[in-house]
């Protein structure tokens, strides 16, 4: 679907500005990485940047970091944004595979804090302590809806993301996304699950917010049976730089779905023009997180 030229210019220029530092780093990091990341034998497969992985407390015992990383590599992941409840899970994976793991700081010590963190005054101190100790590319995935995004704890989270130049990975409705942008218009927000919103709502949000990206985790409708429906194809075509895939390993068992999810993603991405498929598969993730470079912690 063609889009109005004015809109295209506005979106593209805004995004170029947002990604300027990233593009410089991309030239340094991403190109050599493609040669040296030790991609599996199936490297001929489309690489995947998985934007939505959790390695939470209940997975650590039955899936040690070496085994977890082996699954990520078997799936042909180029990189994976990992956040965990608690954060020790992410740190274990970063230590095991710094080339592969893009660490994100989740404001949960246990996953059950999904519903309580926004009103928990201890969360801010937890985030500050972690940010002082380790390096991150993002804060999230956190769950916040509607007016709760303006509570003091989420506000502090947004401020910390701004201070540390971190992407916000928000599992939110459109209202909360609007509120997060009002708190920091320069924020970069990765909208988890594209808000589980309909394509027309996602389109409006992407038009309105050039610094908004979307992951497609735990959504099936954009690629059922390996075919991209017309409304999603139009959306991907209109915003080729804003989408990325993700598995969402919200229970330990779902780690054993990562490989199949990668295959499933490749199947529906093959229904798109190759250049667009590459962007959604990995280039958009690489671009958004290009500011992250593997290296020793603080």
């Amino acid at each position: 679907m063609a889009r109005p030229a004015a809109t295209a210019t506005r979106v593209d220029s805004a995004m170029r500005a947002a990604l300027a530092p990233a593009r410089r780093l991309l030239a340094i990091v991403a190109a050599p990485a493609a040669l040296s990341l030790g991609l599996p034998a199936a490297a001929a497969e489309l690489p995947i940047f998985d934007a939505h992985i959790h390695y939470s407390h209940d997975a650590w015992d039955n899936l040690p970091p070496k085994d977890a990383v082996a699954i990520l590599r078997k799936a042909g992941l180029k990189r994976a944004v990992v956040s965990s409840s608690g954060d020790d899970g992410t740190q274990r994976l970063v230590s095991e595979a710094p080339d592969l793991v893009v660490p994100s700081l989740r404001p949960y010590r246990r996953r059950s804090e999904v519903t309580t963190w926004a009103r928990d005054d201890t969360v801010a101190a937890f985030l500050e302590e972690r940010l002082a100790r380790s390096r991150y590319a993002a804060i999230g995935e956190f769950h916040v809806y509607g007016a709760d995004a303006d509570l003091p704890v989420p506000r502090r989270l947004v401020a910390l993301a701004k201070q540390h130049r971190l992407v916000l990975h928000a599992h939110s409705d459109a209202d909360a996304i609007e509120r997060l942008f009002r708190q920091d218009p320069e924020a970069r927000i990765l909208w988890a699950h594209s808000g589980f919103d309909r394509p027309d709502t996602v389109r409006e949000m992407l038009k309105k917010h050039p610094r908004l990206w979307c992951d497609l985790a735990f959504r099936s409708e954009q690629g059922a049976a390996g075919k991209v429906p017309a409304e999603w194809r139009a959306l991907f075509t209109e915003f080729p730089d804003r989408f990325m895939v993700g598995t969402d390993t919200f229970t330990p068992e779902r780690w054993h779905y990562i490989v199949e999810h990668a295959h499933w993603s490749r199947a529906w991405l093959a229904d798109l023009p190759p250049a667009l498929a590459e962007r959604i598969a990995w280039r958009n993730g690489e671009a958004l997180f290009a500011g992250w470079t593997p290296g020793p912690g603080k």
Binding site: R111, F250, T251, E253, H261
Partner: protein, 392 residues
Amino acid sequence: MNRRYSGLAALVAGLVVGATGAEPVAGPSFTAPEVRAILAHGPWPPPWQSDPSNRVSGQPASIAFGERLFNDPRLSRPGTIACASCHLPPRSFTDGLPRAHGLAATDRNTLGLANVRRQRWFGWDGANDNLWAQSLRPLLDPREMGGDLAHVAAVVRADADLRERYRESFGAPPSAADEPVAVDVAKALAAYQETLATGRTPFDEFRDALARGDDRGAARYPAPARRGLALFVGKGRCNVCHLGPDFTNGEFHDIGIPFFAGPGRVDAGRHEGVRRVRASRYNLLGPFNDDSTRQTATATRHVAAEHRNFGEFRVPSLRDVARTAPYMHNGSLATLRDVVRHYSELDEERLHADGEQILRPLRLTDAEIDDLVAFLESLSASQANSSTSRSR
């Protein structure tokens, strides 16, 4: 106001006339929507409908043939295990084990067979879309009966009684082609299983009394079960998934039960079931469906796996549930009380924020747990009226 609505009004107001008619018995108040929800769990038994995909569905000779086959261990490869070895009539055709054990251990609890004809998808994962394909599956599974199409067909050809029963059912003796004979065996097995139905229960008596405005009849339903029913259709909202006369929506959900089947091995549940039903040669889209219109195949034509299906399992019927312990796809909960406690203390860490949105810990008191268990127990027929009864 006619008698029916007079009776309903009395219940809604929270007063039920005692069994003697002399003393009102205090009971839970049911709102009008709750009364409608209760009535939706009946009437029972439902009317008979034959299966158009099975040309011998409802045929007496085939039912008898199927019963004979159901109890014949020769259908297993070593001749030691019959269908009835795991599907025991006194246990509503389950085996009482956490996980079934045929020729080898399996990963799943044995599902009961009573009322099985009313399902749309079969098994914990819905990997079959018809009862005859579901009946063929354990015959061929190496962990269950370990046979193959040739073995099943050979057993029927080699036995004079089975051969004659086959001819009587299908109009010709078993042919030399293994696959059609084995599928016909499965269709006879299905014809028999279609007759297995649970009888009327204390709940059904209450529900029908409620429907006809029979206050005295309704008052015979024990107070704990009545309070449990109020929780079931009220605070618990159990009837959102356990709905209708069968107390199931016939679909698949993730209720927070872990689904590791062993170290590093998961039971993918419905996700794998969708893949298998679509790939099956014995599905309703395939050559063995006796419904030439293929109207029976509409759901199969459109079913597609979604990410959420990974780790989803069947919502089982609750009829005769007191006889089918242990519970859940892997038999991990030993008693009905454990099941109710599971929902009471639901581990939200196991649930996706946008997955099963209806599921929240119910935080039931011990007394409420007792009541809900009493209600569930009232969904079982008396032993004399149990699922050994034929539905036709």
